[in-house]
Each structure stands twice: as C-alpha cells, then as structure tokens.
Point group: C2
Chain length 338, copies 2
C-alpha cells in the first residue's frame, strides 16, 4: 500500500501509506483514482508551503470505495462507491454569515490536511457523496473539477439560449463550456494555445484564437450586437481581465474563475456603463457536487475525452511535470489502487 | 426669458431663451430650479464636446411647472409641479434586451439634446413625473441626483441591519449614505477632504478619513470581523478601487458608482476568494424617480442641508467654478425663473 509524500521545496517521495482506522464520524476509503489539479502544481512549485506540512500526502480529486466506517456513521457501507467533497467547514463562525463553503477557517482536504494520493484515505463522513454501484470510477475522479464548473455556471445563472464566452480553455474552462452548453447556451471558448485549440475543436465546441481573429467582433456578430450574456474569465491573464468587460452586453454577468496572483487593470467604466455584474466564484456547494455526479453517471458530456492519461502512483512527480509541459493535457489521473 | 448657452471649449454666454411650442406628445415646462451636476462640469471642461452641440442649453436636474401640453398628452395640466427624468430611450433596439434606461441609443436630455438652464423647456411627456401641489421646488430639484442614489442603493440590495461603506463623500456619495441609512443600514462614509468631513459629520453620518484612521480595521471592528455587506465606490480613485474589495465580507456587494476615466487595478483575487459581487450602476429607472420623490416630499432626509446656494441664471459660469473650487459645495441650484 503506497503513498506519495510531498517533502517541501517541490520534491516528492514514494513511500508506504498509513492505514488510519476511522474515528467517530469518519470513514476510511480505498482510493481508486485521483486527478492532478493546478493546485497540486502550485504545491509542487513550493508556492503553498505555508499551508502544506511536509511530509504530507496531497491530492483532492478522488473517487474510490468505502473500506470501513467509524461509529455514528450511517448510510454508508463497505464497497460503496464514493467521491469526497474536500471541504471541512467545521471552523466557521458567525462572521461567515452561513456561507460555509468559503468560510474563513475552511480546511481544504489534500492541502490543509492529508490528501488522496494514497490507497487508504480516512476522511470525515460529511465530505462523502455516494455514487451508483455501476459508476466508472475513472470518470468519477472528474467530479471535483466538474463541481467547480457546475458552481461557476450556477453563479453565472447561465440559461438556455444565452451566449456564453469562456476566456481560457484549460480543464476548468473546457468543463465550464461543456456544462454551459448542456444548459442550452451557445458557447464560444477563447484560447491561444494551438494544441488546446485543436483539442477543444474536437469536442465540438466553438473556439476562437484571439491572436488570430477578432473575438469581440465575433461575439458582436453572433449576438447581433447585444454582446455576451455571460463571460467566464478562466485565463488569469491581464488580457483576459481587460477583455471580459468588453465582451459582455448590457447587464451581462462576468464570472471570475481564475486565481489572479496580482490585481489586473479592470475597465470599471464598462462595468458602470453597461451595469455589468462581476461575480467571484470559488469551489462548490453540495448541490454542485450532486450536479457534477449527474453528469458523471448521465453520460451527457464527453468526459472520457478529458482524461489525458492514467498513471501509476509512483509516476506522480513525472505526471505533474507532464501537466506543466503539455498545455493540451486536460486531466491526468493517478491510479491509487496499488 | 433668459437661457445660458454652452458655446464649446468651456465657454458660456447668457442669452435669450426660446419658447418652443409643445408638439404631439410634448410638454412645455417653466423651469423653477436646476441643479449643477458633475456632468455639467465635464461639459464646461470641453470633455463632452462630442455629445454637446454648441450653442446648446445644458442642465438636467430640474424642477418646475407645466406651462402647456401638446396634443395627445393626458394627465398633466398647466400649473402642475413636475420633475423630468431626462432619459429618452426611443432609440432602443432588440440588442438592448429591454434594458431601456441604459440602451445603446439613449439620449440624455441636457447633454444630447437641449437642457434646463432656461426658463422655458419643452420635453417629451414620458419624461415627466408629477409632484404634489405643495412640493418645495428647491428640494424637488434634488430629485435627479437622489434618484441616482436610490438606483445605486437598489442595485446594492441594501437591507436593514447591513453594514454599508461609501467611499467618497461628494454629493452622490452623501445621498447614497442617507438613502442607505433610511433603509436601516449602518453606514460609514470614507472621505479625505477636511471640509467635506466636517459637513458629513454635521449630517449625523459616521465618517472616516482613511488618511488618518485605518478604514479596514474600523469596518472589521464594527462588523465583528464579517466585513461590509455593501461597499459603494463613488470616489473614482485608484485607492478606492483597490480598497473596495478589501472592505467587503463574504459574498459582499460592491457597487461601482464612480465614472473611472482609466481602468484601475482591481483585486480580482479578493473577488474570487470571497465570492464578491461587483455591480455597475448607471442613472435610474422610473421607480427610482418615484422613490426619490417620496424622499423629497416625505421630509425624512436632511435634503435642505445639501443645498449649498441658489444662484441666478446669469451666474451659472461662476457657480460652475465655485462647484469645482469648493469640495464642500454639495448642490448649487440655479434659479431659472427669470
């Protein structure tokens, strides 16, 4: 039973995993697959060493089965297929006004506490969502990022018939585009990388390279001058931050998905002039997980196409490098069954 | 019967006003008072010469009486006290999605068409709101900026018991603070100018000079760590744009009232992290006018205190200079009865 430990300063080691018997209200899981996330890359870069405590197992995009349950846990049995919503809001206070999923003392499993790049993982029972018995656990490992996309689309109140622009065609941008399209929206993805452009086009999505074509003009044409109803800024780039207000029509919604490391210039005149609505969005709430699970089991989205490769646990460090090097790598899963 | 004409390049002349008989659907008014607005200052600076067509009468914050009505006009009689909502949305198209008050072809009376710094003013009947017979027309001349404030507070969904910060204590900022307070909110105004600080304090509002005290810490203390529910950015300053996201609590609302001439840096990380909502707001809708009129006739706000002086029409150019020079000048009215 293996585990991969982050040792700080960007280094990982493969070692022996621990089996932690579940305490009261806890469940011990056997992890089948766990996806690599941009956040894991940040950790690998040492950018989150103030939150991660080496040697620590990371990883939070998992799917697996119940191994054993602690006292007081009901509704779960060994063998049940499950995913984990890796948020622990037990530290919330009155100052959080009941907004628990982003409360100030939020602990993120796999960052602030041990994660899922190991075969045996013990977690609080309240983080668990059950899956139907015939669920494909590889697809189920996409639940967490898909729940991010579901939350983003819900924050943007995307409705059928609306025109949506997604700036940035990485894994989250593509999932937002797919979820928005499934809601009946007309979706345009903006992406500059050639291999991503080709990949997104193969998914049947409309994609524009703003370096090659005039994105704003394309949006004007498609909307007959009305502008986009919803714009998702997923690129985290200065260009994206400046473009987002330009693309939106009157009272358009702009959803800020990307994590901006420095405050970009934002055209607040556009915000005023068109009465725009700029909405921040972060992680997910339980209903977003339920929506994501519906997509995982419903087969309506081309989720299998998003899985770039499945790597053995010991290749995790190499897989992180691959994720960094290859822009068309969407989702790399790690097989944690060993 | 006098009128003041903007002659372009920042110059004004006093001349003879025209009496335009009302056409079909039009009403000829006798203007009693018309307030000076920051927009009039922009026009005086020559910054809006692409919209104003000299020689043109400007002015749009008026109150007066009906002189005569054109054919097809019902519900208005000579002598009726009225105010004008100076928006002509007849050019709206499908691309405006019914959002008429900020439609792309909006004409603003007093900017894109002749205004109210004259005794006789002929306008479309649909712009008129009637006032009760005993309304004080000086106070009624505050209806337009007050409707801006009502619209801003409505966009911000300010509710009783909420904590509101208004960044910038000019006329609109002060009116927003007063309207928000009347809705039961706890209001803090942030202002740097000493004479404005003193004026705002005399209105009984809590005001902080962010150069002298730690505004963010004050908001933290007042809200017991929760942060502000609503922040109004009315300063148009780079500092205000950077502070607004810091002051807001989880899912706080930020209302962008100011007109930013250049895109400022905005902390989109805060927007993401706290799931903030940044809302643009511009002019008003009919219900904002009705709310503003309720304040004018209801006597619940210290509106008379906001009237700095009443000047004769021929002193309009000097009054514009006074407005520019004196930061504690809130509302200067021009007496157009001559």
């Amino acid at each position: 039973m293996k585990a991969v430990y982050y040792q700080g300063s960007g280094t990982f080691t493969v070692g022996r995993g621990e089996i932690l018997p579940p305490g009261e209200g806890e469940v011990r899981l056997e992890v089948a697959y766990c996806g690599l996330c941009g956040t894991d890359l940040h950790i690998a870069h040492g950018s989150m060493d103030d939150r991660v405590r080496p040697p620590q197992v990371i990883g939070h995009e998992m799917a697996g089965t119940v191994a054993e349950t602690g006292t007081g846990v009901t509704g779960l049995r060994p063998g049940d297929k499950v995913v984990v919503r890796p948020l622990d809001s037990r530290g919330q206070t009155a100052a959080d006004k009941g907004i628990s999923h982003i409360c100030r003392n939020l602990k993120f499993l796999g960052i602030d506490t041990p994660g899922a790049f190991q075969h045996s993982w013990t977690v609080p029972a309240f983080t668990i969502h059950r899956l139907p018995p015939d669920t494909d656990l590889k697809l189920a490992a996409l639940t967490e990022p898909l729940a991010v996309a579901c939350h983003d689309v819900r924050r943007g109140r995307v409705a059928a018939g609306e025109t949506v622009v997604v700036i940035g065609g990485g894994p989250i941008g593509v999932m937002i585009a797919l979820v928005a399209r499934s809601r009946g929206a007309q979706v345009i993805v903006s992406e500059v990388n050639a291999s991503r452009l080709a990949f997104i086009r193969r998914l049947g999505l409309t994609v524009i390279d703003p370096g090659q074509a005039d994105l704003a003009q394309a949006v004007e044409e498609v909307t007959r001058g009305a502008g986009a109803d919803v714009v998702f800024e997923v690129s985290g780039s200065a260009g994206g931050a400046m473009t987002m207000t330009k693309l939106a029509g009157l009272r358009g919604r702009i959803v800020v998905v990307a994590i901006f490391s420095a405050p970009p210039a934002v055209n607040l005149f556009d915000v005023f002039w068109k009465e725009l609505e700029v909405l921040g969005t972060r992680v997910y709430e339980p209903e977003d997980y339920e929506n994501a699970i519906d997509f995982v089991i419903g087969g309506r989205l081309p989720l299998a196409d998003l899985i770039t490769s499945v790597e053995p646990l010991e290749r995790l460090p190499a897989a992180l490098e691959e994720l960094e090097r290859n822009p068309s790598a969407m989702k790399i899963l790690v097989d944690c069954r060993a």
